[in-house]
Structures are given as C-alpha cells and as structure tokens.
Symmetry: C2
Subunit: 406 residues, 2 copies
C-alpha cells in the first residue's frame, strides 16, 4: 500500500466548508489505495490573531510562550479536519507535532527539526486511520513546544514523508503549481509540469512564493518527490523531483521576482584590507541579512561598495553604516529603496552559454536599466527599478520563449 503525505496551507483550511473540502480530498487519496498522512497549517488568519492577542498583553512576547501560543492554531485546524473525516465515515486521528514525533532544537520561533520518531504515526496507520498532523511545530528534548518559523508546515510535511518512507509529498496551496513567472504580472505565464530541486530552490530564494526553500532543500537531500498543487481545483500541479534536470537541459525554466529589495552604496571607499569587514561585521551584529555585494574596480585606490538588503532593513542598515563611513574614511553612504530583483533560472544554463547575454540585451531593448547583476550556476539575477518589474518579467518571459513549454 502506497503512502502519501499531503499538506494543506492556511487558505485551504480557512473555514468549515474548506476543511470539509480538504477532508474529501484526503478521502479521495485514500480510496485510490493509499495510506494518507495530512499536515495542516492554522486556519486563515488564526496565527495573526494570536500574535495580536500577545501584543495586547506585552510589547515583547517571550519566544517560548509565543511558540506555545502559535502552536494552538495548527492544533485547532488538525482536530477540525479529523472531525470532518470521521463525519465522512473515515477513521481519522489528529496528532500534535509532539505526538507525531517531530523533535527539534530549542531555538524558539525558528526551530530546526533534529529528527522524527514516526512510531505513533505508524501505529495509527496500521489501524487504517488517516493521520492528521499539526504542522509548523515540534518538541524539544525537554518536552517544550517549538515552532519551525517560515515554511514550517511544508517542512513538517517533507520531514514526515522522508521519515515514513512515503511515496511522495503533496503540498496543496491556493495556486495551481509553479509557474514560469508570476501569472498575476505575466498573463502568458505557464504552469511548469515538473522541475528539479535545484531550480525550485533558486526560484524560491529569488522570490517565488509558492514554496519555501527550506522544505525543498529537505526534499532534495532525501530525494523525496514533492507535488505542488491547488486544493481548490483538480489541475495536476507541478512535480519537484531529482530527475527533471536531465531532460530539460539548455532551458530556462522560470523567472522569479522579488520586490523586497533595497540598495545601499558606500561611496568613495579607500581600497585597503579590512574595509569590507568593517562594513559587514556591524550589519551582521545588527542581524541584518545582506544579499548581493558588489565592489567596483578601484580607481586611484578609491572604490564604491554596494550591497542589497530587505526593504524593511534599509533604514536600520543606514543607521548602522553611517558611523562606519566616517571611521573608514569613505565619502558618504546612500540608499535606494525603489528596486526589484528579477531572476532567470534553469539548470540548463550551467552547461550552455549565452543566457546572460540574452537576458541583458532583452532588458536593454525594453529600456530597462540594470543596477546590479549577480549569478549562480543556474540563475542570473538583475536588480532594476521597481517600477519596471512587470515590464521586465514580460520581456524576459518572451525572450526565453517560456510560453511555449518544453
């Protein structure tokens, strides 16, 4: 008997009717002859409401307590789904992250899964039950509740699929799968039938919101096939797996964008050892994550140093950098918060030349100025004016003929 782990996000269990719908889908998977484990997120806005409640009590909620508080959201949705399944005549049981054996470290609010003890789930599956697991949460060695942070429920699902030896992990969400670009901005965007882990990772970390890179990484390490599909339609979705790259070599798979980009430039930096660390150490200490770093060729031992951060961090970054500018003898420090990142991604790019050139010339012909460029083996990213994002996406989608499929 095959085993499928399904995960349903907050919008898929937002109210009683949607929960009943999810129950019917789990039953359908069961009637196809599978054992079924279902991981759920909290209903719709539950998590935000709980955070609001905490903020009414205190400005700085204790992280351990906040984790217990937030973990109740998934407990609620998991019990409701179990009830809905029983009403359909199917044996079902809900388990908390702790009961499901999700063991984590004790870094509250962003705990990492250390291991999974699948015994309880296996026992329940042997009783021919559908097992519902509260996502996003686990338990420390000291029996304290933790939450897994961003992408937590997806990570729960993939980790359970791996530890149970599932045949695949299905992530149900409010979009129909992974697209060649955001279909709200690029009408010609096409759903991708299957994609490699690497490519999906680059898409996710370049701004594609459909799935968090953390869960994809876990899938990649253990070669767990992950299906991303909509819980609201019967469309087939996108399969993320290890075998895709071979077939689709020499192809750009998708274009991601990210509007959460700000640029900081330190102007007139003396080009001498220790300057970079003088700038980036205080940023790291202030817990500001720096994305791209570019240093211009130095002229007369004077150079400009530019880096990007999340928009929400840009004011803080400027505040941290200003005293450094003086101490290292640089001229000044300027920031630009009206930027976006567009990335072209495809495993084929690492073996075939010409993709970068085609990207730059397409943007040039569309009159879009490139502020910064960074690349990985399978990704080329340009930072551009935020106002040109939609233009850039459509231009690149066309330039790489993504509307045509494989």
């Amino acid at each position: 008997m095959a085993l499928v782990v399904q995960k349903y996000g907050g919008s898929s269990v937002a109210d009683a009717d949607k929960i009943k719908n999810v129950a019917r889908q789990a039953v359908a998977a069961r009637e196809e002859g599978n054992h079924v484990v279902v991981v759920v997120s909290a209903m719709g806005k539950t998590t935000n409401n709980l955070i609001t409640l905490a903020n009414q009590v205190t400005d700085s909620p204790d992280e351990r307590e906040l984790d217990v508080l937030l973990s109740t959201g998934e407990l609620i949705s998991s019990t409701l789904l179990a009830m809905a399944l029983r009403t359909l005549g199917v044996e079902a049981i809900s388990l908390s992250g702790a009961q499901a054996g999700i063991r984590t470290d004790s870094v509250y609010s962003r705990a990492r899964i250390l291991g999974v003890d699948p015994n309880r789930i296996k026992k329940e599956l042997e009783k021919d039950r559908v097992v519902i697991v509260a996502g996003f949460q686990g338990i420390t060695e000291e029996m304290d509740i933790t939450t897994l942070g961003r992408g937590g429920s997806d990570t729960t699902a993939v980790a359970l699929a791996v530890s149970l030896g599932a045949d695949r992990c299905e992530i149900y969400t409010d979009v129909e799968g992974v697209y060649t670009a955001d279909p709200r901005l690029v009408p010609e965007a096409r759903k991708i039938e299957d994609i490699g882990y690497d490519e999906m990772l680059e898409l996710a970390s370049s701004g594609a919101k459909v799935m968090h890179s953390r869960a994809v990484e876990l899938g990649e390490v253990y070669k767990m096939p992950i299906l991303v599909a909509s819980s609201f339609t019967d469309e087939p979705g996108t399969l993320i797996h290890g075998g895709a790259s071979v077939e689709i070599a020499n192809k750009v798979r998708g274009i991601a964008h990210d509007l959460n980009v700000a640029k900081v430039t330190v102007v007139g930096v003396p080009d001498k050892p220790g300057v970079a660390s003088a700038i980036f150490e205080p940023l790291a200490k202030a817990n500001i994550s720096v994305d791209t770093i570019v240093q211009n060729a130095s002229i007369n031992k004077i150079t400009d140093l530019t880096f990007t951060v999340a928009k929400s961090d840009s004011a803080k970054a400027m505040k941290v950098i200003e005293p450094v500018v003086k101490s290292i003898g640089a001229r000044e420090c300027v920031s630009d918060t009206k930027l976006a990142k567009v990335s072209v991604i495809g495993a084929g790019m690492q073996t075939a030349p010409g993709y970068a050139a085609r990207m730059f010339s397409a943007l040039y012909e569309a009159g879009i100025n490139i502020e910064l460029i960074t690349t990985s083996e399978i990704r080329i990213t340009c930072i551009i004016d935020e106002a040109k994002t939609e233009d850039a996406l459509r231009t690149l989608h066309k330039a790489f003929e993504l509307e045509k499929g494989l």
Copy 2:
C-alpha cells in the same frame, strides 16, 4: 518558603487587561514570600467559540478530537499570562496539562485525574519561576490529550496543590466567596468566612455555583484548605477547610437553590416487585440522571412514583417512560417543569433536632407549598414552585437568622 496554588476562572482572564491584573496578583503572592503556581481557565467565551467551530464542521464531534480542540483554550490563556508576568520582570513559564504531569484516564470530555507527576513543576519552582498551568486538561498513558469536564480547572488546581504539598489552594472567580444565599436574590445574604468541606459539598451539589463539588471532594480527601475569593476585589473570601464544623455546630450555614428541576410522576403504579427497576433502568440507559425519588404509601396495591430530573432532560425522560407506563400497567405519566429546589445546609443539623420543622413552618407561613422533601445528614431540601424561589430563600434566610453571622 510557602507554596500557594492559585486558580483563575474564565471571567478573570477574559481579556488582555484582566490577564495583566491576574499577573499583578500572582506577583503580589510571590512578594509575600510564596512560591506560586497559577492554574488558568480559557479566556471568557473561548471554549464556546471552539465548540461553535466544531459544530460548523460536524453535528457529532469526535470526543477525542473535541478534547484536543478545547484544550487549546487554556494553552492560549496560560501563555498570555506567562508573557504578562515576564513583562512585570518576573520569571514565569507556562505548562500544558501534559507538561504539568496531570495524568488521567481516557474518558474523553470528562476524564478523571489518576495521578500527578509534579517533577517538571518542581524543577521550574526551583528556578524561582512562577509556573502557569493550563487547567481543565491532562494526558493519558498513550499520550493523548483529555479534558476534565465540569469543574475541571478547579480540580486541576486542588490536585496540583495536593501533589505539590502546597500550603493552600486559592480559587479566584467573579464572586467574593461563598454566601449564606445567592446575594442577587437575598439582599441580606452574608459572606461566609469559613466553611467545612461537607457543608460546601452539599451547597455545591444543591445549586451553589461558586465551586464544583468535585474539587471540594478532592480537597476534603487530602485536607487541602481552599480559599474562594474574587479576582476583582481585595475582599478576604471564604476558606473551605476541615476544622470549621466543630466551631459552628448547631448552626445552619447557608441556603442553596437550583432552578434546573423538573418532576415526573407515574400515576397509578401497581405496587409489585420489579416496577422501580422497569422505570429507572431505561432512564439510566438513556443517560438521564435522576435526582430525588419519592414513592407514596400504597393504597390497594396502587401507588404514585415521583422523581426529579434536570429541566433539559424532562422531555426525553417522558419519552423514555411512556412505553414503560403501558408495560407495567400504570395509569399515566405527567411532568412539571416549573419547579425549584431550596436546600438548608449545616453540619450542626445532624446533632440537633428541629431544623426540618423550622424550615417547613417558615415555608408554610409564607404560603409556599412543598412538593417533595429529601434530606441528608446535613441538608434538608424542599422542591417548590419555581415562581416562589426568591420568596422561599428570603423567608428561610430570616428564619435561620443567617444575616446575623456566627
């Protein structure tokens, strides 16, 4: 260092401000030199809201799942209280029933506490922390969540006080203590300073809502002093303990009433063996709890049999009884749902005569007809017309001079 267990009910933690208020009270108890363990109920209407949610998903929620669902209410209030305490600069930690070591049987929705493993709480107290425990819940041997049913959080508090060897258990609620009668109906009603377990048990089971008899029983068995007081005032409250009865012998302590009473009379019952069991077995099977049973002296081997049930059960009881009336050859079956129960309670009554006579004559002089009478060693209960409840309470309060105090 003394140890105090405090319990705060749903109205005492109904919103953020009330939770902050509870935090200040716990801090005050700590500053008096006590270790403090706080047991909390769910905030205000949380439990009802969760039940509504379950009913939106299914007409018959599975009891195991419902218990997990409802247990989240106390998790939420316990974490918020821990946050509020930390904001006041006091080390605090919330524990679920499971983490607090509350072990129960697996009778969902009304589980009984089998034992308490106090190690985790002790460890936290040793770190000089205030420990907040989610009330109303426990865990089975199989690590499944249970809820304790009516009076659950009070029972959690007393059970923890007993197992931790606390100096006393304090139950904070929205009333100032135990009164000689309901002060909303009897303006002269006086707060009782201290009362014996037995008397409190009779008061509670005769309709006094201030505390559930289950927690009082537990307190009695282990001789744990229980203080009942308001969380909204500094008034001293009522102490329930074992030593009270001696001092106050020969005294009526209080008058309880219960409006949830219906009477069913089976008329013209042949007085022969097996008739009573023919009537009461089907009621027990239908899960209808029968309170008082009275059988008139039989005339010509024909008698009437009267019993009382909760108002909400009366229609169901009639339905169950009607076929029985035919099968045993009785004449008919009638019900009256407009009744109330008034009870006079005092440990002194068992050693001194005349209390029943004084009660009956007081009611007679006030023109109140007595439908049924039942007694225990320390209680006399009359069932009367519901409309006369207030009259009866005032009359009896005066007749037994309860306004005068000890």
